[in-house]
Symmetry: C2
């Protein structure tokens, strides 16, 4: 009778540990950099033995991949929140940048580590690149569905619109990661995007 719930309990515990490892790793990666982070320290912060980390991940590289793939999931989440209520591309763009900056404030580690990856030679492990690219395509499709009509009405192709937003947003995030004041960036970007997109 209690067997099924017991089994579920154990599975849940396993998932929790997995998440705890990812979480600890992310924190240390952000604080020290990917190479400088040691498996010993990650284990310690996760509150587990080093051997346990290797029970969940084959290698440090696999752990890095795991962390990055979980970032990819999060990165594109909620980015479009609120964008379907507006018709003006400038407002959509503003909203996207604002959402990004809000996520940055909630979880700066996500972006810090992202930047490390993107700046790394080769742009990070191939598998991670694939995952990001696929998430990006998904996201693009969602944007198209949600705002494509409105963008087209104003003479924007979704692709070029996204290119511009992407480029600009990277600049803003770079500035945020480098320590610039987020409120100022938000205000600045609002003005810039309205001007650019009329």
């Amino acid at each position: 009778m209690i067997h099924p719930p017991e089994r579920r309990l154990r599975e849940r515990q396993k998932e929790e540990r997995y998440a705890a490892i990812i979480q600890a790793a992310l924190r240390i990666f952000a604080a020290k950099g990917l190479q400088q982070a040691t498996m010993d320290e990650i284990a310690q912060v996760a509150g587990l033995g080093k051997g346990t980390i290797y029970y969940y991940f084959d290698s440090k590289e696999a752990l890095i991949e795991g962390v990055l793939c979980s970032l990819a999931d999060q990165y594109f989440q909620n980015l479009l929140e609120g964008t379907d209520a507006f018709k003006d591309p400038a407002v959509i763009a503003e909203r996207i940048v604002t959402n990004l900056l809000e996520r940055y404030q909630q979880q700066p580690e996500l972006f810090q580590v992202m930047q490390m990856i993107l700046a790394a030679p080769g742009g990070g492990p191939p598998r991670v690149r694939e995952v990001f690219a696929s998430k990006h395509r998904e996201w693009l499709a969602r944007l198209k569905e949600q705002a494509g009509q409105k963008l087209a009405e104003r003479g924007f192709s979704v692709e070029s619109f996204v290119d511009f937003i992407g480029t600009y947003a990277h600049g803003v995030l770079f500035a945020a990661v480098a320590g610039r004041d987020v409120e100022k960036l938000r205000e600045e970007s609002r003005r810039a995007l309205r001007a650019f997109l009329q």
Copy 2:
């Protein structure tokens, strides 16, 4: 009679070696990342023994600092080339971005390594940050002198103008380092900046 020239010869040789080390280090840093680059490999690429590297630089960290400070010098060079012939802030901005992209094509390693530094936790060694900040101030003064009048006439403060250009340019460079087509970026940025700055 030949002593002074001989001495000068030796001094020049020393400077050449110093430069060769910096050069080799930059290449390997860009190709492999700062941590993954080994002193042995740098020595090999520079065509010198490892001990010799340590004769010129106290430590790997000192070498990194040396490389970065030499980058700071180069980074701001020629950025303003051609900007004093125009009155329109949009054209000045375009020109700055174009100059950056041209430098990127000439010497991508410079920007690759810059991005690594900026993305690193803490934004790189403090001394390097200082050097960059001081170069940036110098550059700002030069821009002010060269274009401040024209910018003011059009209602721009030099500081906010530079903030915007800096943010945007980072986004563009990020895209370039990440492998986007430079010509396309150049064209895109031209349109974007004209629109933004009227």
